[in-house]
């Protein structure tokens, strides 16, 4: 599988399978005896078996949300929502599922998990979490994190996140992820023990690299532009959609006024009364139908939001590439300059400006012994540098290869998901139109009886 060679500590490794014990043991514990059967199935390729193994055997759901109060880091009382994660193993023979694990997690723990994944799998487009705060709301929706509708949509979003991770060929095998699903207590400590925060690239370093890198892979540059534009267009779309929802709400609700006035009017009419009254009722139905319609549309908005946040994940991979490339370029530059220095010392010519050269001129030449010593040091450094450059190169190429493979996988997923989202949006619109036709046909019927 895609794991970096397990040598220098400077190398980032996916921590999961090494320091924390045998992965298989953990999986076995969860799956029980069904695992044997699964192992015997499938292709000889170990990777695919284990991948399918996860999907076939495990069902993950975020089934409940609960309000809790507790004390935070500053010992102040706070209210938060906890989510119940249930893992079931499915018997492949009869499809029955057995609850194997069930624990509660809050949003911040999900964030911790994701940050960990970002650090340890920089070549993977890591699935995003649902938004922390409600954005792109139209006026009727609450922007309050405690609002039940928001909590419900967030529950679905968190479940979606877990399913995405579990279905990712690389991420699904991560031990920390596995423990997230199975080990309630102490999980936070376990994650922190990996020391992933220390291994994270600093924002500043990344920004610096973005500006200074000379030869990034063109594909990544294009991908970066794409993800920027995608982010921009989806944001715009979500903002306008929220306004559209607002206006549509207004149109429907004002029709409700017809209900009341028709009723009042019918009171003074003799023959027209009944028709007016019943038509008024249909106007009320029409006005109240918008609530469900817009609730459904929120799911569409959530699907778009996921890809809005995915754009950020794409950018993160590009940034990592730029960082590595920049690192490589710096290392190569450094090596080249050392080699040059060495050459100059050896031949006695000074071609480049150096402080040492300057001071030497001012304060006198150094002794041959001193020079020898310096050459020796340099030669050592050059040797080391060449080794490092070689491994950095290798690392870089590995990264590009793996990252690009995951990006291709992501593109397929994105195209599929967004098409599905558009189809379901069209279906929603069709349903709304049909309801509208129904209501107005009924009203017309009533008017005809006036």
């Amino acid at each position: 599988m895609e794991q970096a060679p397990p040598d220098a500590p400077r190398q980032l490794q996916p921590a999961p399978l090494e320091p924390l014990g045998l992965p298989d043991a953990g999986l076995q514990a969860a799956a029980g005896e069904e695992e044997e059967g699964a192992r015997e199935e499938g292709p000889a390729d170990g990777t695919m078996t284990e991948n399918n193994f996860w999907l076939k055997k495990i069902e993950i759901s975020v089934s409940e949300a609960e309000k809790r109060t507790g004390r935070n880091a500053m010992n102040m009382q706070e209210t938060y929502t906890a989510y119940l994660i249930e893992t079931r193993s499915v018997d492949h023979t009869d499809g029955q599922s057995v609850l194997t694990d069930s624990l509660w997690r809050r949003y911040s723990e999900f964030e911790l998990l994701r940050n960990y994944l970002l650090v340890y799998y920089p070549h993977v487009v890591v699935p995003p979490l649902p938004e922390k705060r409600a954005e792109f709301v139209w006026h009727k929706l609450s922007a309050d994190n405690m609002d039940p509708d928001f909590v419900e949509r967030r529950r679905i979003g968190l479940e979606n996140f877990l399913l995405r991770v579990a279905s990712h060929p690389i991420l699904c095998r991560d031990k920390i992820f596995y423990l997230f699903l199975t080990q309630e207590g102490n999980w936070k400590e376990t994650v922190n023990e990996t020391g992933f925060q220390l291994k994270a690239d600093s924002r500043l370093k990344a920004l610096n690299a973005t500006f200074r890198v000379k030869n990034p892979d063109k594909r990544f540059t294009e991908l970066k532009h794409y993800s920027d534009e995608l982010q921009s267009v989806i944001s715009h779309l979500l903002r306008v959609r929220a306004r559209v929802a607002d206006r549509l709400y207004g149109v429907y609700k004002v029709h409700g006024n017809y209900g009341r006035v028709f009723s009042e009017w019918s009171a003074i009419e003799k023959e027209m009364g009944d028709g007016l009254q019943s038509a008024g009722h249909h106007m009320d139905v029409y006005a109240s139908s918008i609530d469900d319609i817009l609730e459904d549309e929120e799911h569409y908005a959530d699907q778009l939001k996921e890809y809005l946040f995915y754009a950020e994940a794409l950018r993160a991979v590009c940034r990592k590439h730029e960082l590595m490339q920049y690192d490589l370029e710096m290392a190569a530059q450094d090596l080249a300059s050392k080699k040059q220095q060495c050459e100059e010392l050896a031949t006695g010519t000074v071609r480049t400006f150096s402080l040492k050269g300057m001071t030497t001129k001012l304060f006198g030449q150094e002794t041959p012994e001193q020079r020898e010593a310096r050459i020796k040091v340099l030669e050592e450094q050059i040797n080391e540098g060449e080794q490092q450059l070689k491994s950095k190169n290798l690392e870089g190429r590995e990264f590009v290869k793996n990252a690009w493979a995951d990006i291709e996988r992501f593109k397929e997923q994105k195209n599929h998901d967004l098409k599905e989202a558009l189809i379901s949006y069209a279906v929603m619109q069709i349903s709304m139109c049909k309801k509208g036709i129904q209501v107005w046909t009924n009203a017309k019927e009533c008017f005809s009886k006036m």
């Binding site: 267009v233 006024n257 006035v261 558009l422 069209a426 017309k444 006036m450």
Partner: protein, 437 residues
């Protein structure tokens, strides 16, 4: 509705005309009123010039076409219409073909008025004249003057705020044309108003202005008497049936006002919704340009939203042009009726005052003085006319509103059907499997 046959015999209280079937009773026709009048093709008979000298059913004097106090005229009216089937129409009027006239002093619009009739009052079977709004306004004033006991249909608003509404825009002219057409058709359908001299001249005269100048000097007998009445007499109490009509009209106007406001609000919200949609659709296009496989689906969604936007615009235009004006017209109509009610009150007040004066004189009179009797007649005819008009108005109102509201429902149905079609047509596009890039 036909131009005349009386139906039903309402009782208008104990008086000398009780035995006479009243020719102005509302004929509650079941047919849908309004819309285009289809001229009956085979009632074209040439009338000799001499016909005009014959005794006309609505009184001999040109100015006294609606002298309700004359019982013989009432009888004549009844007799004329007796042998005509209620469903046969003998007068058809249409307003169309608006044209703009640019003169040195002003610019204005004229409309073509086409009249087809077999009535004796018309020399020719067919007429085509051009009239402008102020001619309609003149007609209405004349009708109000000469037929004070009747409800005269309303005209569309005279003044428009310049700058806000373009008086010469197609939509405005068309809306006005429809209203003017409705106005004339309502008069045409009225058994008394349609025989009015001024109406006849309006439909037939080549030079209306000349007639207008001539008419200024004359005052109708009835007009005079009504003018004489207004002022000075206060009604003690309105009879129950008229009070009920008054109350009904008040509430009716209120409800219509509310509906007008709601309709306007809906249109406003729909327009704002449209504005957002017009921004929403193109964003999908922008996105489409970024994508490969998703390009066509996204572009499809963009086009679809565009189609829905167009459909919505059509809906709001229709509602503005067809729905709101009719609503407002009925508010004006009910206001007209209320003022006729007030005039009626005046007539009754005068009668009661005169009656009281006679009673107070304590003279032993063998009979009630002639002028008090005339007052009584006037009042009773007025009451009869008003009740008949009210019934007709109620019946027309019912049909008009049925049509109006069904029309509103229809427009909404059409809007949703257009949107439905648009969305259904892109489903196959979205589901299409793309070829390998």
């Amino acid at each position: 509705m036909s131009g005349g046959p009386p139906r039903g015999l309402p009782s208008t209280g104990p008086h000398s005309l009780l035995d006479m079937p009243h020719p102005l009773a509302g004929s509650s026709s079941e047919e849908a009123v309004g819309g285009d009048s289809t001229p009956s093709p085979d009632l074209l008979t040439a009338r000799s010039f001499g016909d005009k000298d014959l005794i006309l059913p609505n009184g001999g004097t040109p100015a006294g076409t609606s002298s309700p106090a004359s019982s013989s005229s009432l009888l004549n009216r009844l007799q004329l219409d007796d042998d005509i089937d209620g469903e046969t129409r003998d007068l058809f009027v249409t307003v169309d073909d608006p044209k703009k006239h640019v003169c040195t002093m002003e610019t204005y619009i004229t409309y073509r008025i086409t009249t087809k009739s077999t009535r004796v009052e018309f020399d020719l079977p067919e007429y085509s004249v051009r009239r402008r709004y102020q001619d309609f306004d003149w007609l209405r004033n004349k009708l109000e003057e000469s037929q004070p006991t009747h409800l005269i249909p309303p005209l569309p608003e005279k003044f428009v705020v310049k700058g806000v509404v373009d008086r010469f825009s197609e939509e405005f002219v068309e809306t006005r044309r429809k209203a003017l057409d409705k106005f004339l058709k309502r008069i045409t359908d009225h058994p008394v108003l349609s025989f009015n001299e001024h109406f006849n001249v309006f439909l037939t005269a080549k030079d209306l202005n000349a007639y207008k100048k001539q008419g200024m000097a004359l005052l109708t007998r009835v007009g005079e008497s009504v003018k004489h009445v207004t002022g000075g007499y206060k009604l003690r109490s309105r009879p129950l049936e008229f009070a009920a009509i008054g109350d009904y009209l008040d509430t009716f106007a209120l409800k219509l006002g509310t509906i007008d406001r709601i309709a306007q609000r809906i249109i406003k919200e729909e327009i704002e919704y449209l504005v957002e949609l017009r921004e929403y659709g193109p964003v999908y296009s922008t996105w489409s340009a970024l994508e490969g496989e998703l390009s066509e689906p996204l572009e499809g969604v963009s086009a679809c939203i565009g189609n829905c936007s167009t459909a919505l615009e059509e809906l709001t235009d229709d509602m503005t042009e067809d729905f709101l004006p009719v609503l407002r017209e009925y508010i004006l109509y009910s206001d007209s009726m209320k003022s006729v009610l007030k005039k009626r009150d005046q007539v009754q007040a005068e009668y009661e005052a005169k009656l009281e004066a006679v009673a107070l004189r304590k003279e032993d009179r063998p009979k009630v003085p002639a002028d008090v009797e005339k007052c009584q007649d006037r009042m009773e005819c007025f009451n009869a006319d008003l009740k008949a008009d009210m019934e007709r108005w109620q019946s027309n109102k019912r049909q008009d509103f049925r049509q109006l509201l069904m029309g509103m429902a229809d427009k909404n149905i059409q809007y949703y059907e257009k949107c439905l079609m648009a969305w259904e047509s892109i489903i196959p596009l979205l589901q299409e499997k793309q070829e390998a890039k």
